[in-house]
């Protein structure tokens, strides 16, 4: 990882209402290198989308609040920008693809106009012909006939709509693309198509990407780095190699992998991690995963674990307190 495009440092986000305070994101660190793809994995409600929204300052104004941390995009802190400055970033430098293509297109605008809007907002003074040319270009890029630009979203299928949404997001050739579960609402065959397309476009355009998903298959296929999120914390992070092939894992990551159905074994029931995610209005004092962890020790309930690092791999678990780095280093020195 040489040059960072996005550097999230100690970000905490709360949703505050009169009745309660929800700690959605608690002091997370994320780094995305130029041209790299980071997969943010975690179950529903872990704070993945909240993280994505806070990057673009799109948290709901009345309730959502960033309590600490920095989000640096190419060295400038996005959180300190005013509304006007951040608008320049949104869609121009950082674009976002939302989860559900069915609802993320305006039903009363033609798809061409919607792509045009994204282009016009960030390129003032383009002539009509140039804009039309760009729309055609973007549609062709995502595999849609340019002649269909005068049609309305309801005339497209789900997969086609997601392609349009991606075309909109890429309309201004952003440096960073945030994809918030882009394939969750699609069926499996279309998922594969859209994923391949995203991967291909990313490679061609050199876009960095933050891929939010709860599908580990997607991560394996597309991402360079992975961060596993649980109850608003990054419990494990590393390269795809570290997470998928490494030996040391956070018990939650282990559980995640354990719950992938296996074709060859004939289990009657699907494996799952017992228990539920802790109530984010009332997080446990010690390790957030302790109530569900099968390796839970006394210290886990009392003390919040610190992050332990290897070169690229990091873990937040008492099991590895003081072990990870030493073990690895010893292992390496032995080999050398």
């Amino acid at each position: 990882m040489n040059e960072l495009i996005l550097d999230i440092d100690d970000l905490s986000v709360i949703y505050k209402t009169d009745l309660e305070t929800v700690k959605a994101v608690n002091g997370i660190n994320l780094k995305i290198g130029k041209g790299k793809t980071l997969g943010l994995v975690g179950e529903t409600g872990a704070g993945k989308t909240t993280t994505a929204l806070s990057i673009l300052k799109l948290l709901p104004e009345n309730t959502g609040k960033v309590t600490s941390g920095n989000v640096k995009f190419e060295g400038t802190n996005l959180l300190e920008m005013n509304e006007h400055e951040i608008r320049e970033i949104r869609g121009g430098q950082i674009a976002m693809v939302f989860q559900d293509p069915m609802t993320s297109l305006n039903p009363v605008m033609t798809v061409g106009d919607q792509i045009a809007e994204a282009i016009i907002m960030h390129n003032e003074g383009l002539s009509k012909g140039e804009i039309e040319k760009r729309i055609d270009e973007k549609l062709t890029m995502v595999g849609i006939l340019p002649s269909r630009k005068t049609e309305y979203p309801h005339q497209f299928s789900g997969g086609m709509k997601q392609r349009v949404v991606i075309a909109m997001a890429l309309a201004c050739e952003p440096k960073l693309l945030i994809a918030d579960e882009p394939t969750t609402a699609l069926d499996v065959t279309i998922q594969a198509q859209v994923l391949m397309m995203i991967k291909e476009l990313r490679n061609r355009l050199g876009t960095s990407m933050l891929m939010i998903t709860h599908d580990l298959g997607v991560v394996a296929k597309i991402c360079d780095d992975v961060a596993v999120m649980y109850a608003g914390e990054i419990v494990e992070a590393g390269t795809v190699h570290d997470i998928f092939l490494g030996e040391d894992h956070h018990p939650y990551t282990e559980g995640l992998f354990g719950s992938i159905p296996n074709l060859s074994s004939r289990t009657k029931r699907l494996n799952s991690i017992p228990g539920l995610m802790p109530d984010p209005t009332n997080l446990p004092e010690g390790c957030i995963f302790a109530p569900r962890c099968k390796y839970c020790m006394d210290i886990c309930i009392r003390v919040h674990p610190n992050t332990v690092f290897d070169e690229t791999h990091s873990l937040k678990c008492h099991l590895f307190d003081g072990k990870l780095r030493r073990d690895k280093q010893e292992g390496k020195s032995e080999k050398q």
Binding site: L56, L58, E61, N62, R87, E88, I89, R90, G91, G92, A95, M96, F98, Q99, D100, T103, S104, L105, N106, P107, V108, M109, E117, A118, M121, H122, S147, R148, T150, E151, Y152, H154, V165, M168, A169
Partner: protein, 294 residues
């Protein structure tokens, strides 16, 4: 359709949006009848001077008073001997013009306020909605009467009074629509794409609320026609001797038993106009809803 079939699956049927709406509008018989009626009524009002001279509507001729319908006076004459047909033809002009203009002005003011209140929420919403409560706490008719009394009855003041009485409906209607629409993903997506609030309201929220607004507007036109007639019935419309449908009704009251045609024709004019506008409104509602495409 044949064309599409012959060229097999790959070709797409292309139709412009207006054509599409018109096609669906035509499907509803009521809407077409309403449209034809309204066009005829508007043509009559537009060319009123060629159909019957304005003087026939205002010139008194006591020798001819209270005549029944005849060839000379199609709808008969009133208690001053004025031609009822001419009065209806000319009277509708002001009524409909006021109805249309005040609907448009209340729609624009109301939609803008409603969109702002619904989109920004919080304090702005509270301020707008609470000031609206003041307007709404006074009954419409009382409010309009008070305004007309205070300012005097003429064209502009009637317009102001009716606008003030009706814009509140739009604020509430548009606000409730915007509250729903602002939560939708494509609004969020537009914001993530760098759109400003003004742009989001103008190009994403209002167009999606347009169906409801247009339908409400057409239905409101008929309401205001009735309302304006009510006002002139109460003597708060355009000052006499200007002909007006409501005023004619009010004058006809005294002669209801002896000359029912005085009541019948202006009442029919009001009913037909309101009815045709309502029919069009219903047809538009179906035609404009993109979800009902068939």
């Amino acid at each position: 359709m044949d064309n599409v079939m012959r060229n097999s699956g790959i070709s797409f049927k292309k139709q412009s949006q207006t054509k599409e709406i018109w096609r669906r509008f035509k499907k509803s018989k009521g809407a077409v009848i309403g449209l034809v009626m309204l066009v005829i009524i508007l043509m009559i009002l537009l060319f009123a001077d060629f159909i019957a001279p304005y003087t026939a509507a205002t010139k008194q001729n006591l020798a001819n008073k209270l005549q029944g319908p005849s060839l000379a006076h199609l709808f008969g004459t009133d208690s001053y001997g004025r031609d009822v047909f001419a009065r209806i033809v000319h009277g509708g002009r002001t009524s409909i013009l006021i109805a249309i203009l005040s609907t448009i002005s209340s729609c624009i003011i109301g939609s803008a306020l409603g969109a702002i209140a619904g989109y920004f929420g919080g304090k702005i919403d509270s301020i707008i909605m609470r000031s609206l409560d003041i307007f709404m706490s006074v009954p419409d008719i009382l409010f309009t009467m008070a305004v007309v009394f205070a300012l005097g009855a003429n064209f502009v003041n009637l317009l102001v009074a009716l606008t003030l009485a009706y814009f509140t409906n739009y604020v509430r209607l548009v606000r409730s629509q915007v509250l729903n629409l602002a939560e939708l993903d494509y609004v969020e997506a537009a914001r993530a794409g760098g759109a400003s609030s003004a742009r989001i309201i103008a190009s994403h929220i209002l167009p999606n609320a347009m169906g409801v607004i247009i339908v409400n507007t057409t239905l409101n036109v008929s309401k205001i026609i009735l309302y304006e007639s009510t006002l002139s019935f109460l003597g708060l419309g355009m000052p006499p001797p200007a002909p007006e449908w409501g005023l004619m009704l009010s004058e006809a009251r005294e002669f209801m038993r002896t000359s029912p045609h005085l009541l019948f024709f202006p009442a029919m004019a009001i009913v037909l106009t309101a009815c045709s506008v309502n029919l069009i409104g219903d047809g538009l509602r179906d035609a404009l809803d993109p979800h009902l495409k068939s």
